[in-house]
Amino acid sequence: MTVCNSCRYCEGLCAVFPAMEMRRAFSDGDLNYLANLCHACGACYTDCQFSPPHEFNVNVPQTLAIARAESYTHYAWPRAFAGLFARNGLVISVIAALSVAAFILGFVAFNDPGVLYGVHIGPGAFYKLMPHNAMAVLFSAAFLYAILALVMGVRAFWRDIGEPVGMTTGPRALLQALRDAGELRYLHGGGVGCYNEDERPTDRRKLYHHLTFYGFLLCFAATSVATLYHYLLAREAPYPWWDLPVVLGTLGGLGLVIGPIGLLIAKTARDPAMRDDARLGMDAAFILMLWLTGATGLLLLVLRETSAMGPLLALHLGFVFALFITMPYGKFVHGIYRYAALVRYARERQMM
């Protein structure tokens, strides 16, 4: 950081370096702020005349990747669960497996085998296996818990990143950050595209991330619309293929299947110098969970009128449930902290 602050060549590449220049000394909070502001585009590594093998050994993407992962642990709520980040790949796998198993066992326990392997068609087909209200209560609880834990974490982060503009913010900064995050403005290698394997800006992570993120949002929208259908219009799932929840869910599911594969390939192709290999498990687990959610969802759609529907529904619900409850303790938090950092940055730009 001392090297960076006395060089400043990278100032125009992204938000990290201007933010760095607003500070002369760096507290832990500042470091966490910069780390989460970084989108890992790799331009500052590729452009740096002091990156390894130079003796100054400046490696901003890796340094910030490590700091970023440590910040997730640091702000985890409740504190007792901070350890879940330590062997995150394993933790997420175990929770996912348990969750899937619980749904399968639950289906088996509450239904007789004939129902589980039966063919169910028409409105309310899914609810023959699990009553809608039970589903709604269970998933709402998981989701609300995730939100609570995330809010608590962000609150601690927001306090910690402190100076120089204080902790208040305004709608303009929130909006600016929403735009920056939505476009992945800083995942652009300073304009030419990102760097991943080598010094050529050939990276496609931005595209894959958009597919993944907007795929996730579409799936979430599909569920929300379906919930509204259910309670407001009294229309029960499954819906025909042309209906809004299915269209949204299908598009989102495709995004969630294609995007994560691209991200995972990019991750393994990334120049090891820029990677935080110790956290590969966390990254891979989250990517895999998203993929499994998307893939089981699509499979369920395709096979919903066959006897495979029951087991597939259990699988899908199991993965979704695991995704929800592990949200505050996995890679998912990157989006939340990065958004908070972008808000703070937008605010700093306004104030200074």
């Binding site: 006395s6 005349q49 002091f50």
Partner: protein, 465 residues
């Protein structure tokens, strides 16, 4: 794999800004081009790695430049910094060509950005590379590769076969074997000789042992030496170079921009005898920046110390190496290895000589000393707020000026006054044509890009006719 048995139209020796501009322009003119970069891939690009901007003339403000910078003004600036030691015809040609460089270099993939923090004084005259010099190089290399320019790294040229001003082939080491590469035309863009301490000692004497080299360790001047040995006319003074005062704790080579100190105006500078030796308040940046290297080089053991106090620490950019601190002047002197009594005396005399004034480091203000020699003519304020602080500084050589004489085609001139048949030069290796002495920020890159582009074009024409 590059087929070295074929004869190339244009051989470019070097791998920095000038070399790549030459390679791209020759390739765009239809020539087959081979680039021989002596350094490994990571260190490719010579001193361009450490650059960040280029000085180009322009008649109006642009997105990244705050105002016009006419050809005449550029030339006047050049006259001033060189003390008139420039080839006017070449210099005016370069300045004229620099106008189009603002666009041409962008077409080669290089991106501009507004001037960086702490460089406001250059916002009108100099265009900054987004991401710095290595980003510029990455863009140029990518463009060259896409155009089909062949590039070899770790390709140090050991001999040049030149007969009567006619380049025939170059020999390089490849996997332990000598390989001769033939080409119809040569562009020499292999930099200066600042990393060759032995050569520096020929002109500077043993003092050169204490010089730090700010840039690439690969600029050993071997190509320049071969060319001069084959009858190419030399230009420039071997003792002239761009040298600034940099932190004495910097690595011997390749410390780059971050080892510089621009805190001279905020304090005093003493030598190893704790004596002041030059007016620290003579001129504003960047002129003062460019003279202190030579001033320190003239001091015993080529070392000096910028002494200031805690009241000014936040007045300049943060530095890589923290200042050395002492609660008393004597303690600081001890840490620096200076005679405490001598430093106390120098500081006391200086403080007593400071006249009241209104401090403003952005103009030549009225804070000065009276009754001491040398005087500090501006920005003189008492140094009395403990802890006392110091940066040890040494001369940091950026680049050298001795080179090959060229004409407006960037064609080398032979010592008999005739132009070379098929040899061209660009960049630091011929910078002395334009820069007889002195330096203005960003002008090295102008020389490299403009003459590189010209050399590549002319070499391609030469090869194809």
């Amino acid at each position: 794999m590059v087929d070295l048995s074929r004869k190339f139209d244009v051989l470019v020796i070097g791998g920095g800004n000038a070399a790549l501009c030459a390679a791209i322009s020759a390739r765009r003119a239809g020539a087959s081009v081979l680039v021989l970069e002596g350094a490994p891939k990571f260190y490719r690009g010579g001193n361009t790695r450490h650059t960040r901007n280029m000085r180009c003339a322009h008649d109006a403000a642009t997105e990244i430049l705050t105002g016009p910078y006419t050809e005449d003004e550029f030339f006047e600036d050049l006259l001033r910094v060189t003390g008139g030691k420039t080839d006017e015809e070449l210099a005016r040609f370069m300045i004229h060509e620099s106008k189009d460089m603002l666009n041409w270099i962008v077409e080669q993939g290089v991106r501009w950005q507004p001037s960086l923090g702490g460089t406001l004084s250059l916002g009108r005259t100099n265009s900054f590379f987004l991401g710095g010099g290595r980003a510029m190089l990455n863009a140029l290399y990518l463009t060259a590769e896409q155009l089909g320019v062949e590039i070899l790294y770790d390709a140090e040229v050991t001999t040049l076969d030149i007969q009567d001003g006619m380049f025939l082939s170059a020999t390089l080491k490849q996997d332990g074997k000598d390989v001769a590469v033939r080409a119809s035309a040569l562009v020499a863009a292999a930099g200066g000789f600042e990393a060759n301490i032995e050569w520096l000692k020929e002109s500077w004497g043993p003092a050169a042992e204490n010089f730090l080299i700010r840039g690439t360790p690969y600029n050993r001047g071997s190509i320049l030496k071969m060319l001069l040995g084959k009858g190419v006319q030399a230009i420039g003074d071997p003792t002239q170079c761009h040298a600034v005062a940099i932190d004495a704790r910097a690595p011997k080579f390749d410390g780059g921009i971050i080892t510089r100190h621009d805190s001279v105006v905020f304090g005093i500078v003493v030598n190893k005898h704790a004596q002041r030796f030059y007016d620290e308040g003579e001129d504003i940046w960047p002129k003062r920046y460019a003279i202190w290297g030579r001033l320190v080089a003239a001091q015993p053991d080529q070392i000096a110390y910028i002494i200031f106090d805690s009241s000014v620490v936040t007045s300049f950019m943060p530095t890589l190496f923290p200042p050395i601190a002492g609660d008393t002047v004597a303690e600081l002197a001890q840490k620096l290895g200076l005679d405490p009594a001598a430093l106390e005396k120098t500081l006391a005399e200086f403080n007593a000589a400071v006249r009241p004034g209104t401090f403003d480091h952005t103009i030549l203000d009225d804070c000065r000393t009276e009754g001491i020699t040398p005087a500090k003519t501006h920005w003189a304020r008492k140094i009395e707020a403990a802890p006392y602080l110091a940066y040890p500084v040494r001369p940091g050589i950026t680049f050298t000026y001795l080179g090959t004489r060229v004409n407006k085609q960037a064609r080398m001139m032979m010592s008999d006054g005739k132009p070379a048949a098929n040899m061209f030069a660009a960049g630091e290796i011929m910078a002395g044509n334009v820069l007889g002495q002195g330096y203005a920020a960003g002008i090295g890159m102008t020389i490299g890009s403009v003459f590189g582009r010209v050399a590549g074009r002319e070499a391609a024409n030469n090869a194809r006719n």
